[in-house]
Assembly symmetry: C2
DNA sequence: GATTATTGGTTGCCATTGTCAACTAATTAT
DNA sequence: ATAATTAGTTGACAATGGCAACCAATAATC
């Protein structure tokens, strides 16, 4: 493994920490944890999201998903209804409050990144976004062996 | 907030998940969690690391650091000695096993990123590393208000 | 030099979090 | 009509990390 790869990996790990769980403590995030926000983001993305949709998106078992959705519901960010077409599935959706919260968190997250994002010109932002996209794609791509 | 910033933030959040806790489950990582590996990396970086050094590096309280170091010691990745100069502080260092484990994890982590890293030419790697470095620097920089 | 304050580390107790397996209820297949 | 499947929930549990009280060693003060 080259030194280049080695360094990149360390940077990724560090970034994963700084922008992940670490970024979601303290008073910033409407009292939501990182994973709660991940769930919220998925629920926002797919309107009328079933529990297992949440589970899949955030890599939890379905019981874990039940629990995180319950928590979000208790906090008022989400509402859960029985589907009218199939009485087994839940339709989870953001409430007004949930939408406000995600918007607020997005602002706060941006502030956290501070000057850098503000000062980025469009080309640099594209460049970084492109890098991240390929990395994410690589990580998402189903792998055969190892791990 | 511009759309550009918005998209970048989502990418960062996704990357933080994929390369953080998520990357460290399953059978890949010598049975270590993400935070355990973070601690291990810090201990490797600063030879004869005191407990509070670990705490500071990974954002835990000192009791949390005690716990994670104990866990690593029990698993045989780390040894803990009393400092000869100051009987209060611990000197934590990697064992042979710990060094092997970090190397193995590094390999596995690289494999996880799969083809992308392998195919990166030096210039692209530098570009990505540069982006991540500025983002990390921005996140590390002490901020005054908000959050 | 003895006493007090400080500092590094540990521990008991606790809350949070997420898994597993067993369960219920609704739907689909036979 | 009955059996099999599927979505979701729940009880019991293990892992994790914080808080505050604690111990022991060093540093500061008299």
């Amino acid at each position: 493994m080259s030194a280049k790869t080695h360094g990149l990996i360390d940077l990724l790990r560090e970034a994963a920490w700084l922008f992940g769980n670490k970024a979601f403590d303290g008073s910033c995030c409407e009292g939501l944890s990182f994973m709660e926000y991940q769930a919220l983001a998925e629920i926002q993305r797919s309107e009328d999201c079933p529990i297992q949709g949440v589970a899949k998106a955030i890599g939890f078992t379905k019981s874990g998903a039940t629990r995180i959705v319950d928590r979000l519901e208790r906090k008022g960010h989400v509402r859960k209804r029985r589907s009218p077409v199939d009485g087994r599935v839940c339709c989870v959706a953001l409430t007004r409050r949930g939408k406000d919260a995600t918007a607020a968190i997005m602002r706060s997250y941006a502030a956290y990144l501070g000057d850098v994002l503000k000062e980025l010109d469009v080309r640099s932002a594209k460049r970084i976004a492109g890098s991240l996209e390929s990395l994410i794609a690589a990580a998402r791509r189903p792998r055969t062996a190892s791990r």
